[in-house]
């Protein structure tokens, strides 16, 4: 899961990484209280699960009550890359000498954790110059490696000590929370040479959620996604009006691509998993009918070990129970016994096609009506 800045900072605090005073709120009343407690000047920061918020105006300085009353609602109402504010963080203003960059991330191709550090931080990682890169296996950073990184960055004395301390704490957090990425950008050197994390980004491994109850409070999941998860499906909500259902993540992604190529707009990505059964397909159909923007359902199934006739049973049952109501279903089924499956469905309202291309074209035309 991807944590918001204030959530990442809660964990930073737990691990003893230096931070400025800050408070998160979800409405202006709460915000006013925090403003009083913190005292001016401070920074108003939108909390969204995407990058690029500074450029979009999501970070504003605030010197007095008038500015606060003006800017808090402005920042709260921003939509950044389609994402609404989850919260607003008020953070004390910092007296910064220099901005550094520090991250530990899982290098997928090298199959190890990697430190990236730079003495030129504060810009997006793609533009960070003088990157120092160190591979660290399963994530453990020894004193030697930490000192080496600090030295290569040209840090000395109290600053180097503070940096080494931060890096080692970040490594501990990476290992214990099973992070795929922890980034502090900028990591600031203050006027008194202390080291402070001004921002925080943290992405953890979803597959390790079962052993991290303490992180559950950060999980952001819609009601419909939660229902899908319970059934063992993956569902990603999208902006369009055609629900895309299939078995296997690759096949559903591929269907999404072809639908978009044909001018269709997917409403969701729903993967019922590699195998398809009567129950799973029935449940998937139930689920997508609950998404209000759905105007049509595109089903692309490749029957593997499971026979497509078993899948056809799910459609029969769904029509029997009037599950789809007036929602048109465009389906392509391939694999074992697909001819028989198609025959089974001929009496229903479901439209069955021989190729996914035909099903897609019909779906795109069908929802236009």
């Amino acid at each position: 899961m991807r944590l918001l800045e204030f959530q990442a900072k809660e964990l930073f605090r737990e691990y003893g990484i230096n931070l400025l005073d800050s408070k998160s709120s979800t409405n202006i009343e709460e915000g006013r209280k925090h403003a009083k407690e913190l005292g001016y000047p401070f920074v108003i920061k939108i909390q969204v699960p995407v990058g690029g918020r500074g450029k979009a105006g999501g970070i504003q300085t605030c010197q007095n009550d008038d500015e606060f009353e003006l800017k808090y609602p402005q920042v709260m109402d921003l939509i950044i890359k389609g994402e609404k504010a989850r919260a607003i963080l008020l953070e004390k203003m910092a007296d910064i000498k220099k901005e550094l960059y520090l991250s530990i991330f899982l290098n997928r191709s090298k199959r190890c954790y990697t430190i990236i550090a730079s003495s030129d931080g504060g810009v997006e990682i793609e533009s960070v110059k003088n990157q120092i890169i160190k591979e660290i296996g399963l994530g453990d950073v020894s004193d030697e490696i930490a000192s080496e990184v600090a030295k290569e960055m040209g840090l000395e004395g109290k600053i180097a000590d503070g940096f080494i301390d931060t890096l080692k704490k970040l490594s501990k957090l990476t290992i214990e929370k099973e992070a795929e990425l922890v980034e502090i950008n900028p990591l600031a050197i203050m006027q008194d040479d202390t080291i402070i994390a001004l921002d925080g980004k943290l992405v953890t491994d979803d597959n390790s959620n079962f052993r991290h109850d303490e992180l559950q409070k950060y999980q952001e999941i819609s009601e419909i996604e939660q229902l899908a998860e319970k059934s063992g499906f993956t569902l990603v909500e999208l902006d369009g009006n055609i629900a895309v259902v299939g078995n296997g993540a690759g096949l559903v992604m591929s269907t999404l691509d072809m639908l978009s190529d044909s001018g269709g707009k997917p409403a969701c990505f729903l993967d019922v998993g590699g195998g398809a059964t009567t129950e799973s397909v029935y449940e998937a159909l139930t689920l997508v009918t609950k998404i209000s923007k759905v105007k049509g359902i595109l089903v692309n199934l490749y029957g593997g070990i499971v026979k497509t006739t078993v899948v056809a049973e799910a459609f029969l049952k769904a029509y029997e129970n009037n599950l789809m109501m007036d929602l048109p279903v465009f389906s392509r089924m391939k694999g074992t016994e697909s001819e028989k499956a198609i025959e089974m469905l001929q009496k229903t309202k479901a439209k069955i096609y021989n190729s996914v291309e035909e099903a897609i074209n019909a779906a795109v035309m069908g929802v236009k009506k």
Binding site: R2, P49, V50, G51, K81, L106, R108, S109, R111, C112, E124, I125, E126, L138, E178, E180, L181, V203, D205, D206, N207, S208, F210, R211, T234, V236, L238, G246, N247, G248, A249, G250, L251, V252, M253, S254, L256, D257, M258, L259, S260, D261, P266, F269, D271, G274, G275, Y302, G303, G304, I305, K334, G335, T336, S355, E357
Partner: protein, 305 residues
């Protein structure tokens, strides 16, 4: 590291040539039993199963079940195992197999924590073993051996190697290849996780020197940069067999996990554009739809004639 074909087929002088033994870990579970049965039906020599606490039973009245991998390996001498246990028990099962001397470990489970995969890979490296997966459909030499959850109907023996992150797309594209007359010499599902025991480049190294190989099909998807690295390796190695790629996820939004744990675009890292442009640089055409793959492959073959 052992040669993959020698592991899967053996040598002509071996008594079990083309009939190499496979141990199924989790054979008494719902999922394990379905697929053990299917593997046996499809001609794979399943010599033993392992389910802690179920030792002494016989699966389908034939296949002996043991409590540990050590017992199963001692009794059968098998070098191959396939794991069908729930993700949270994967690490223990993988350690059990590698410690017992397994040289090819096929890791089927989805949702294995990355840390557990990385620990498994460290151990596999020490032991000189190959790990395929996790979150893989498996590995197959059509009409010889199938280790995993693939249906056999889409596949046919032949001379094209197919490497794929996705399971269903592997079936779909192999089906299209078979229909077009392109059988497969080997198909390897590398898996949809962020960290793969066998990466695209490793799988490529396993198959690139097959003497009668006539072509290569790579089925990638968004996330990570293993397709880009493979494309670079193909350029650097001077590999000149007709090669075609397919990339799923062109229409996927950024920063959303699309079903597979590994299928996520972070910034520009992992985007379909990046992969497609690297394949283009390597002079490898990228199909826009699965059915285009055999068409592009046939086109490549004509040119290379």
């Amino acid at each position: 590291m052992m040669d993959i074909f020698e592991l899967l087929k053996g040598k002509p002088e071996d008594s079990d040539y083309m009939k190499k033994g496979v141990i199924v870990q989790g054979i008494t579970g719902t999922y394990g039993s379905i697929h053990a049965r299917s593997m046996i039906a499809d001609g794979t020599n399943v010599v033993a199963g392992v389910s802690p606490g179920k030792g002494g039973q016989k699966f389908e009245d034939k296949v002996p079940v043991y409590n540990t991998m050590q017992e199963a390996v001692d009794a059968t001498g098998a070098k191959i195992s396939v794991i069908f246990v729930p993700a949270k028990f994967f690490l223990a099962a993988a350690k059990d197999a590698l410690e017992a001397g397994i040289k090819l470990l096929v890791a089927i489970p989805e949702h294995v924590p990355i840390r557990d995969t990385m620990i498994t890979l460290e151990l596999a490296k020490q032991k000189g073993a190959i790990v395929i997966g996790p979150n893989t459909p498996g590995i197959m030499i059509p009409e010889v051996i199938k280790i995993g959850i693939m249906p056999v109907t889409p596949f046919k023996a032949g001379k094209i190697a197919v490497l794929s992150k996705s399971g269903t797309l592997l079936y779909e594209i192999s089906d299209a290849l078979t229909t077009a007359g392109f059988g497969q010499s080997i198909t390897i599902g590398i898996g949809g996780d962020p960290v793969n025991g066998t990466r695209f480049i490793d799988a490529f190294d396993m198959i690139k020197d097959i003497s009668d190989l006539e072509g290569l099909v790579v089925v990638g998807e968004i996330g990570g940069d293993s397709e880009e690295i493979l494309a670079q390796r193909i350029i650097d190695s001077g590999f000149n067999k007709p090669t075609v790629a397919y990339i799923a996820g062109r229409a996927a939004p950024k920063e959303k996990r699309m079903g597979h744990a590994g299928a996520i675009i972070m910034g520009t890292y992992g985007s379909a554009e990046s992969k497609i442009s690297m394949f283009n640089k390597a002079n490898i055409p990228v199909a826009k739809r699965p059915v285009e793959v055999p068409v592009l492959l046939a086109g490549k073959m004509e040119k290379s004639d």
